[in-house]
């Protein structure tokens, strides 16, 4: 595969696995979607920021960043993985897990129908892609939201997969990275979606307390609601892509509450940086290098912990 995602050995760099139950399933290739052969106009789009007309293949080659103004378009989960993971190192986990319909929820469309339609269209079962990989040679557990799937909303499956990212990292004693892009909890799974926040955060606490491994959270446009109010804002390091919408309550809800206009730049990455809520704003083309540098600083050939030194 040309996108850097393959069936490589995630432990090529010596991550201890010791017969972990997570690795009993054979590695699977990433599901791919047949390329749509749309009309020519599908090949071009206008940048919402600088209004330049952009050629999609060029945009894709540049990681969905506008070559003129650096506007960051949303990026598919698999493309994100390709940008971050060492070529061929990414091994997908848990892509066989699919959502149920515990509430038998129905709005304009029954939830189970909506799921089926979205799954068919996108070729994935839910809104999260996760796996083991290396970044610049360092083993990590990586999870990436897929915003195209119902706005990246977190229901039982996303919560389960995030939880397993942290559990695997705890078991393998390696760092975890989650790249968030989500409108929040998935309404169609009701209170069970809310509970995914508790489930995933409890697993994150174990990564910290049992494995002593770091977790880096990358916030991209948008990261709001129940995802922001759980693991997304709990990174040992929190990086944000430029100009992403990040917050708990949606801007429209807040506007209705206060009945006046919101401050300039409210809930952008830059606003959060100014208010002390993120460590760094990292442009997409520097993300991989910044993650690698941070991981090295944190875990590369770790010295004996000060408390253990005699």
């Amino acid at each position: 595969m040309s996108n850097g995602i393959g069936n490589g050995n995630p432990n090529g760099n010596g991550g201890p696995t010791g017969g972990s139950r997570w690795f009993e399933q054979p590695p699977k290739p990433l599901p791919t979607r047949p390329q749509s052969k749309g009309p020519d106009k599908d090949l071009w789009l206008r940048c919402p920021s600088c209004a330049e007309i952009l050629y999609r293949p060029v945009l894709a080659e540049r990681g969905q960043v506008c070559p003129h103004c650096s506007h960051h378009f949303r990026i598919e989960a698999s493309a994100r993985v390709a940008l971050l993971a060492d070529p061929g190192s990414f091994v997908v986990h848990d892509d066989h897990l699919g959502p149920g319909d515990p509430l038998e929820f129905s709005d304009a469309k029954p939830y189970h129908k909506r799921l089926l339609d979205t799954q068919k269209k996108l070729g994935v079962l839910d809104a999260f892609l996760s796996g083991s990989c290396t970044i610049d040679g360092l083993p990590v557990e990586l999870g990436v939201f897929d915003f195209r799937f119902m706005g990246g909303s977190m229901g039982s499956v996303v919560g389960e997969k995030v939880t397993r990212v942290f559990e695997r990292a705890t078991e393998r004693r390696c760092p975890a990275i989650v790249v968030s892009a989500s409108g929040g909890a998935r309404m169609q799974e009701g209170i069970l979606s809310l509970m995914q926040m508790a489930k995933s955060c409890a697993a994150l606490a174990k990564l910290r307390d049992e494995a002593g491994q770091p977790y880096i959270s990358v916030l991209t446009d948008p990261t709001t609601g129940g995802v922001a109010a759980s693991f997304a804002m709990l990174g040992d390091l929190i990086f944000a892509e430029p100009n992403a919408l990040i917050g708990f309550a949606g801007p429209r809800v807040i506007q209705q509450t206060i009945g006046e206009n919101l401050p300039e730049g409210f809930q952008t990455s830059e606003y959060l940086l100014a208010h002390g809520m993120v460590d760094l704003i990292v442009p997409r083309n520097e993300l991989r290098a910044t993650l690698a540098e941070s991981l090295r600083w944190l875990v590369e050939s770790r010295p004996v912990a000060i408390g253990e030194a005699r």
Binding site: P99, G100, P102, D107, L194, A202, A203, A249, I254
Partner: protein, 339 residues
Amino acid sequence: MDLILDFERPLMELRRRIESLKTLQAEEGLDLSASIEQLDLQARRLQGQMLRDLSPWQRTLLSRHPQRPYSLDWISRLFTEWRELHGDRAGHDDAAIVCGFARYKGRPVAVLGHQKGRNTKESLKRNFGMPRPEGYRKALRLMGLAARFGRPIITLIDTPGAYPGVDAEARGQAEAIARNIMEMSTFQVPVICVVIGEGGSGGALALGVGNRTLMLENSTYSVISPEGCAAILWRDRAEGPRAAEALRITAKDCLHLGVADEVVPEPGSGAHRDPDGAAAALDAALERHLGELSLLDGPALREDRYARYRKLGVVLEEAERLAVIRAKLAETAAREEAG
């Protein structure tokens, strides 16, 4: 101010008639006991039926009833030596959350809860029970203290949700809620959460990660308010009743979904009409659960909590998923054929 909800009216009317008969009896020296007894029986039957038949939306209205006991009302009935403590140590004190020391049957515990106000002035002070980040941080500070000294933690949940305000966002309410959720999972002491009224989304969960979650019979617990859900899915807040139904927010639904461990009955026609009766029922449940949890040591308590949340949610393996989809499609087809 006595708010009587529509569905409470027939019962209230019956009660009023009983009262007037009793007055008549006392004033005129007549023997009306047979009629009174009959009406009383009718009232009790009506009450039982009413509580059984309440719709999710009616439960929602009850969970928000302005005469429902709030955290401080429960605290005064269930605990002794209550001492409220204040401040997040970072510049703020949030009156939407109360927390402090208390004793439960002589045993030192930490008690925390969302707090609503009874009148306009107090409601504003309490921000209608909607915390800002400093509220969660104050709560976390006290819970951490309790955990360090081996004191059980009891939380009372009653909030429409986190406060959707500019200041709350600026001070990082997403992080504050997240931090509470994560740290609550780690405490090596018993943590019991009781939903006493509205369990509103992240603002509720920030006090809601426990070994046990008890829900009062007329409380609700939801990922989003019914009105908020309706505004998004049906573009109309007035569709709240429909959303309340779809979201499965009642105590009974939460029990079936595994989110609640026990539904605490509200005797009479609800905690807003008989707070002492409801307090007695909660007291019994609390004592039982605290007793059970007290048998576990610190690490076991953390592990018990982990296991509790670990299993929540419905995730299907590929084969199961296909079977379910096939069944649903067949069901739909059959229905279409019949209709």
